[in-house]
């Protein structure tokens, strides 16, 4: 543990370390593993919090670690450690072998690592070119000052987080890749208060691999948006529980597709037997109005990546085409255990998690309708302008909080309502998405699942669901 790194030379993240990594992989194979993968990570993060008119927290953090995974047949063992010395890595892979109780005489051949695919070449200066704490603080302070213009706003917060990650991925099939990832998020939160009335509003913005994105962030537009939302909801009545048609707004409205359907298309769910779509490939699972995509290639999008955490370049996967299931989201273990080809979706929060099949930028493709046409088509329904969090149970039931909702009467938006929860099941709701708007937009978010919290974007145009259960009072 502490101070031991001076006994053994450690991994140097500025070097390729090829010889050492080959030695560790060879050691694993010599002990009987079918496959060995090493994921090395070096991080440099910071978060800044501004409350009211003061910087109240600046929290830097940094670290390093290794995640070593071995496969034997379809079983896998995973060991993570902070000890990046030769001794530490050899010890970890030996532990992984022992865990799987491998006693094999048939040894896999290892022909060495390929030439490194270095995705980090143009990224080495990012840490120097991203905003300084002074610049971040000033912009956040301007934002919270701007939020003051509404006197009923009682709590004003602005936050920024930067995650810089350098990774090296090496595995026994010769994969050898190096990358630098940069994610920045900025958010505004308010609580408005008037006597017994309270409302809250929040917005988050995020980017990947775009060092200057924060500098370009339009904080006044963001502040206006969050103020408008919180003030509209301050005196809103609670919604009545009912079943009605709903229109879900674009951008973060896509969180429902992400949670209710997207997760069920990850091969980890097939492995567990928890997706109703396991045997539905090339079958209709949604309304023909629905085409859905998961990809990791949109420049700057929060879920984009140059290479996934298993060393594969991401691809664009059309999951559902005109209502028909076309593809699952797959990683190495998923391909091995379910037969679905990898899609460059092997992702993990950090070195302490084994990669798993995870979404990246996931969205419903745009249709032909305007937002007004969707709303005009409803006599009595709910417009969900802003969605909160949600969850999906092991049987596919989902529920989502509506942060900002408006009743639809005779094709028009009427009064704001609060306390609504959308409840349903993917298999029942997907066929009821009957209209898609032409205003597709993406929104950043964090997705927590088997391999930790990863950056994603969700997205959709405005969509209409013909009927859904709305929880209320």
């Amino acid at each position: 543990m502490v101070l031991t790194s001076y006994i053994n030379k450690e991994i140097d993240f500025n070097e390729e370390n090829k010889q050492l990594l080959e030695e560790v992989i060879s050691h694993g194979l010599s002990l009987g593993a079918d496959f060995v993968e090493i994921f090395l990570e070096n991080t440099d993060n910071i978060s800044v919090l501004v409350e009211e008119d003061c910087i109240t927290s600046v929290s830097p953090s940094f670290g390093k670690g290794a995640g070593i995974r071995i496969f034997k047949d379809k079983r896998d063992g995973f060991v993570s450690t902070n000890d990046l010395s030769r001794k530490g890595l050899i010890s970890s892979i030996t532990q992984a072998i022992e865990m799987l109780d491998i006693n094999s005489t048939t040894l896999k051949r290892f022909q060495g690592l390929e030439n490194i695919r270095n995705y980090s070449i143009d990224k080495n200066t990012w840490l120097e070119s991203i905003p300084t704490v002074n610049e971040i603080g000033e912009k956040l302070l301007s934002s919270t000052k701007f939020l003051k213009k509404e006197e009923k706003v009682n709590v004003r917060k602005g936050s920024y987080a930067r995650n810089w990650q350098k990774v090296i991925i090496a595995s026994s099939d010769g994969t050898f890749a190096k990358d630098i990832r940069l994610h920045q998020t900025v958010g505004l939160n308010v609580i408005a208060l008037d006597k017994q009335y309270r409302s809250s509003g929040s917005r988050r913005f995020g980017s990947s691999d775009s060092p200057n994105e924060f500098k370009n962030w339009n904080h006044e537009e963001a502040a206006n948006d969050v103020l408008e939302s919180s003030m509209n909801m301050l005196y809103a009545d609670y919604v009545d529980a009912c079943q009605k048609p709903v229109v879900l707004a674009n951008k973060f409205g896509g969180v429902i597709f992400h949670e209710a359907c997207g997760h069920l298309l990850e091969t980890t769910q097939i492995e567990r037997g928890t997706t109703p779509f396991a045997n539905k490939l090339n079958k209709k699972i949604a309304h023909e109005a629905v085409t859905a995509v998961d990809e990791g290639i949109s420049p700057g999008s929060f879920g984009s990546l140059s290479v996934d955490d298993e060393g594969m370049e991401p691809e664009k996967s059309v999951l559902i085409k005109e209502g028909v299931l076309k593809k699952f989201i797959s990683d190495r273990a998923g391909e091995m255990r379910t037969g679905h080809k990898r899609t460059g979706s092997g992702r993990r929060q950090n070195y302490s998690f084994a990669a798993a099949s995870r979404m990246r930028n996931t969205f419903i493709a745009k249709g032909n309708y305007s937002k007004d046409e969707l709303i005009n088509s409803i006599n009595d329904g709910l417009y969900c302008k802003s969605m909160g969090g949600g969850s999906v149970g092991a049987t596919g039931q989902f529920n989502f909080a509506v942060e900002e909702g408006y009743l639809i009467k005779n094709g028009k938006l009427t009064k704001p309502v609060k306390g609504a929860t959308l409840i349903g099941e993917a298999t029942e709701v997907m066929p009821k998405i009957s209209m898609c708007g032409n205003d597709l937009e993406l929104a950043p978010g964090f997705c927590g699942s088997i391999s930790g919290s990863v950056n994603v974007t969700v997205g959709q145009p405005h969509i209409k669901v013909d009927s859904i259960t709305i929880g209320g009072r």
Binding site: M1, V2, L3, E10, V48, L49, E51, C54, I55, T56, S57, V58, S59, P60, S61, F62, G63, K64, G65, K74, R75, G77, F78, S80, N82, D83, S92, Q95, A96, E98, M99, L100, V133, V155, I191, R198, S200, Y238, A241, C242, E271, R272, G273, T274, A354, G388, S391, G393, A394, G396, Q397, N399, A401, T421, I423, T469, I470, G471, G472, R473
Partner: protein
């Protein structure tokens, strides 16, 4: 690993950077876990983790912080350097200090530290447990979420004024979530979690029985009508709810304006007088008990609600100073120090005034909804507004018969709920997050699917 070594190294390095005041908290852990799929080892995991959070005070008494997993000499030096830089941005409006209790004696707690049994034994135990659960009922086809783990960890705190604390513990946990399906009806899923100091302390058979009973009992379900219903919360569900609204006891949240309480709330009648609530991190049944918090303050039992009256808030050093009281042992360690509850104990007070105070879920024949487990807390609770709208697993009871509820949400206002408690049963139940009896509430809004 020696706390003294790290402390000496940080002390010497701080001196060379002219840093006179500092403290740190660190944890070191070794974790092992297994998952199975119909007897086959799914994923076996081991991890060795270390993390240290370091605070330094500059000449203007402003605090800077850095967290790192790199505990090499270079790593620790870099952490000191970065924390020193960060102190330029320390909060001028709310100064932070060492806890005045960081050197007070800490209460000796029952520590049953077990030795690692190893992955093979964990795997064997989980295979047996999975097999037993699968054989409980023909409708149970898979146990999609399962795991057995053991952890061994050490936590330390030290500061430049000589405070030094550490403790070591072991902990094991098993969870089994079964999925059952029959007669082409919708699948149902439920489960159970048990924790102990080590594998030998885990009540695995109870975990299997509970997971099977909960899952199977929900197979025959019906949709219910939307409306207002009398409610009985299970101990687990009431603890879930009170933890979700624990910002009402949290001085940090009150200062930040995100609590439904305010500085003047102490002494207010906020609940039915028959309700007592304590935070008791050192309770003998709390497997996760810690003798001190992130700032080195000793953990202690604290009364939060006494006969319906708000009695105390939980504090860090800085919130305690603002409220002119003492820290309560509930702080984390951060640039902005967080405050959180440890282990909630709910009980019926001596002051029982409810006319319906003899309600008992085992023999009540009226119509009510029993809420077994609340879900999606992160999405459905608005702690700063006091409202909730949450999906739940539960039953509709009428004339002693129970029907599993297909899919429903319960919604309400937490302050109103506390005041509309009808009855608190006498018998308390131990859960993984605290202790509570069954709690009856006059009525709450239920959205059903009928």
């Amino acid at each position: 690993m020696d706390l003294r070594d790290i402390t000496n190294f940080i002390s010497n390095s701080a001196e060379s950077l002219n840093i006179k005041k500092w403290d740190f908290g660190a944890s070191f852990s070794n974790d092992f876990s297994v998952q199975v799929d119909k007897g086959i080892a799914k994923q076996l995991k081991a991890s060795q983790k270390q993390v240290l959070t370091l605070r330094v005070w500059n000449d203007n008494n402003l605090v800077g912080i850095t967290t790192t997993s790199d505990l090499s000499e270079n790593g620790l030096k870099k952490a000191l350097y970065q924390a020193n830089l960060a102190s330029d941005y320390g909060n001028k409006n709310e100064l932070t200090d060492f806890s005045p209790l960081a050197k007070d004696p800490i209460e000796k707690i029952k520590v049953a530290k077990r030795s690692p049994v190893g992955i093979k034994k964990l795997l064997e135990a989980l295979r047996i447990a999975e097999n037993k659960l699968l054989n409980k009922h023909s409708a149970i086809k898979t146990i999609p979420y399962n795991g057995l783990s053991e952890s061994f960890f050490k936590r330390v705190y030290a500061n430049s004024e000589g405070a030094q604390r550490s403790y070591e513990k072991s902990q094991a946990a098993i969870y089994l979530y079964a999925r059952a399906e029959e007669n082409n009806r919708k699948p149902r899923s439920s489960g159970s979690v048990k924790i102990g100091y080590g594998l030998e302390d885990l009540d695995i058979n109870s975990c299997i029985e509970e997971a099977a009973e909960k899952t199977i009992s929900h197979l025959n379900y019906s949709a219910i009508e939307t409306g207002k219903y009398k409610i009985c919360f299970s101990p687990e569900s009431f603890l879930t709810l009170i933890n979700a609204f624990s910002s009402m006891f949290n001085a940090r949240s009150i200062i930040d304006g995100v609590s439904i309480s305010n500085k003047e709330s102490i002494g207010e009648m906020i609940a039915n007088p028959s309700l007592n609530v304590f935070d008791d991190g050192l309770h003998e049944k709390n497997i996760s008990s810690a003798p001190f918090d992130g700032e080195g303050t000793p953990t202690k039992k604290l009364c939060l609600i006494n006969q319906g009256r708000l009695e105390n808030f939980i504090h860090s050093e800085s919130t305690a100073r603002i409220f002119k009281t003492k820290p309560t042992g509930h702080a984390g360690l951060g640039s902005k120090v967080s405050v959180s509850t440890d282990w909630i104990v709910v009980e019926r007070s001596a002051e029982v005034i409810s006319q319906d105070n003899d309600l008992n879920h085992k023999d009540y024949l009226g119509k009510y909804i029993y809420i077994e487990e609340l879900n999606a807390i992160h999405a459905g609770v608005k702690a700063s507004q006091g409202s909730f709208s949450l999906p739940f697993d539960g039953w509709l009871y009428e004339r002693g018969k129970k029907i599993s509820i297909e899919a429903a949400t319960v919604a309400g206002d937490f302050k109103t709920l506390l005041k509309e408690i009808l009855s608190i049963e006498k018998k308390q139940y131990l859960t993984t997050s605290g202790i509570s009896p069954h709690i009856w509430v006059k009525e709450l809004s239920i959205t059903g699917d009928a």
